[in-house]
Subunit: 350 residues, 3 copies
């Protein structure tokens, strides 16, 4: 798998450079960009993990938590720069839905086919479900409802306030998990750390992380410019491109590793990747983008469309209910996938 | 009780035939139809149970699950045929509310008066609550929100897609409960099966099932035509007739058996009847009706009114919260009944 | 602390009398009224507790439960009499939010700084979460949604019906907790009762209770008349005054005792004060005010504004999720406080 990724990255990135210089049509650029980003995401993931192992559990956890959605953040940044605020909010929605329903659904289902019942830590599940409710039900719903009679200035003020609170609470959560309540959470992690040896040395990892990030940034900028053509050619709405297409490309790396872990019966890690990545998008990537947008001509409020918000709320309630007992099976996975398909059809027809 | 039912059925059905030929006024037809259907529902229930015992646990479970709401399905079919889509959706809502709040409420309350605390299987409760959230919060809410800006064609497309997914997941759930994860669920059922002897032989049960179903169909058709007069005479809205009247008549059999079981301290069975019947209505009867309506002049979308949807959502959250611990008492029953009364007053005044 | 309260009450109340006779400006009247009410609330709390100990656990529990929000009820009564229905509903919202997010948040946080993990009874937590869902999600949401197409008369009828059901269920809940299922709930209470000796004799307690209540009533009437000026001077909306200012003054006593208990690692009592007080406001104070308003020129329906309702719903889901495991820590406290700040900013900007 890693070899294929290396090959794809080393072919894809030069092709995009040539294509953008020679002004190739948008559809091949779109396809090559998507493949290249998925391949590069693999490199970023491996480099981050190597650095995390070298740096010890605390800084390592912090690195994983902040670099985990680097690709997502970079694509969104360039989409934001292009003024496509609707697609940014849609792709954030898509990340939340993709991680909660698709990644977790496939993990539960694929793992559940091999193992009758799989278990994961109840403490982690409760920590995650508390923050999911905080982020989706409180921090995303309040601006939606309260800004309906507000003017533009107050809407931005409320968005900034909520963004700062989200980032603060996210960092406080890392402090809680990695420092003050470290022993309380699953001991599986501790065992894992002991055996693990980093794939790359510290220096090599930093260089690869740097180069891959620059490459992702370059490719993302080309990708973003194909969206308009894509919508016209296939009749896809901004919403559908953001929620389904961008979200799947931006999260391909998480999808792959979560499912691999589920098949190895390490459901703890699979859930942590899927739900942890959701929380990162909702409590870190989204507010960072809101704050970054203040330096751009058009600022992005933290106000989703009603369908986006309702999709995230229903997904949150379903996932919390299915995961709160610390057990999973194939049928729970199928239920999550069925919810993903229903919401997908909804966004396609919208 | 069974004797009275036999008597009522053997008097009621001929009276309806005579009444419809002689063109009796609507009010007596309405009353006699309701009583006859309740009596016939008893026969269908007993015939299904006899067949289920003869066929062994797997096919038996399947029979119970599919024939359990036969009466509901037949009444709704004729209401649909008469073009009264509003009453069909209202009676589906009423079934969900009646089973979740009224049946479960009376079971918890009546059982709780006799026994201080009653227990039922936590695995079953979790399975049920996951599907309740899937059906009511995901599959019913998404079309409501997403179709608000959609045209008629897309609304029907979305309804069909969701209906197919609901039926598929419902059947997958039966496969999960009856085949792959049979041992995991409450062993109470297994004990029950061993002792049980069928009331009727296989042949007799099939004939009774067939005759009762035909009779219910005939009576339902007469019943449906009285709704308009009923609304005019008593000032009842379509919504109130559907949510309260049709729902209580269509589910009388479940009401009776759930409460009997609760009084015998077999709360497992009572909860299974009430919540199982809800899931059947939401995941099987409702989508089947949506698909059947495609062959009629006017197709029925899976789009409830806002009050119907909100009533179902609030009932779902209340029931999940009260039942997730696998324990019940009289006060939890009273809470469910209080919610039913509040919602009932609301629909009456609407 | 008690001495300061005595001093404040004995200075504040005469000042208000003088001020109202001499027609002082509204801002000093507002500040002195707030301080006096907080001080008097301390007296009412101590008198009620003394009476509760003397009367034995059952009547004591009942006394605590009904007199606990006396101050809140009195302020709201005079606000209602002044025709400021918007502020009454806002201050009820503010009490619910203040108790659930602020009081519980500070208790979890402050207690969690001293103790790594604090525990409280799971039976109590489940009883509370069931009633929270009943009150906020069912009894407050239904009138909001159903009255949108209703005329004035039906809206009042529905409000009266729901109010009577809320009060009945609240009293039934006391009967459940104090009589039929007494042993089931946390034994911590029983131990507590044995050691406790009343601060004041029965006669003294009754006199203090009576005098403080009269004083609170008098001061509240003066306080209410300052609201209009307050809004004009500081640009605060009716909503903000009700949700934040009145709610904090009306619940200061609870805030203080809950946090004290949390710091002593008696999280059972702290949660009982915070959530118990919420339930009292939602299921007893609010419906009583609806019924009292029928004797006034303008009756108050049980219909909150959408932002008020959404804020209460999101707070309810967050608290239920964080408290259902019977454990708390500093990070859960911080999460609750973050939600309070987000909602507070929202109401300020509205």
């Amino acid at each position: 798998m890693n070899r294929i990724f290396t090959l794809l990255a080393f072919i894809g990135v030069p092709m995009i450079i040539i294509g953008s210089v020679m002004d190739w049509p948008d559809i091949p650029i779109f396809i090559i960009s998507c493949i290249s980003i998925i391949a590069l995401a693999g490199f970023i993931g491996r480099a981050t993990e190597s650095l995390a192992i070298v740096s010890g559990p605390r800084i390592g956890g912090f690195l994983n938590a902040t670099f985990g959605n680097a690709v997502e953040l970079i694509i969104s940044f360039f989409t934001l720069k292009a003024g496509l605020i609707g697609i940014v909010l849609a792709s954030l929605t898509g990340s939340v839905l993709g991680n909660l329903l698709l990644v977790l659904g496939v993990s539960f289902f694929a793992g559940g086919i091999k193992f009758k019942t799989q278990k994961f830590g109840i403490h982690d599940a409760r920590y995650n479900s508390g923050l999911l409710i905080f982020a989706v039900i409180v921090a995303f719903v309040i601006p939606e409802i309260f800004t309906q009679t507000m003017d533009q200035v107050d809407t931005v003020t409320l968005s900034i306030g909520i963004s700062i609170i989200l980032i603060t609470l996210y960092l406080a959560g890392l402090f809680f998990k990695l420092v003050t309540h470290r022993g309380v959470f699953s001991s599986a992690d501790t065992n894992k750390e002991e055996e693990e040896i980093p794939e790359w040395s510290k220096g090599k990892a930093i260089i690869i992380l740097l180069l891959s990030t620059i490459a992702v940034a370059y490719v993302s900028e080309q990708l973003v410019h194909t969206f308009e053509t894509l919508g016209e050619k296939f009749g896809w709405s901004e919403l559908f491109i953001g929620v389904i297409i961008v979200a799947i490309v931006g999260n391909a790396a998480e999808h792959f590793s979560a499912i691999t872990m589920a098949m190895k019966n390490r459901m703890d890690v699979a859930v942590e990747i899927a739900v942890g990545s959701t929380l990162q998008v909702a409590m870190f990537v989204a507010p960072i983008l809101v704050l970054l947008s203040l330096m751009m001509p058009q600022s992005m409020p933290l106000v989703f469309t009603i369908p986006e918000l309702v999709a995230m709320i229903t997904a949150t309630f379903l996932v919390i209910n299915l995961s709160n007992d610390g057990e999973s099976n194939w049928f729970e996975g199928l239920t999550l996938l069925a919810a993903y398909v229903i919401i997908g059809i909804g966004f396609y027809l919208l």
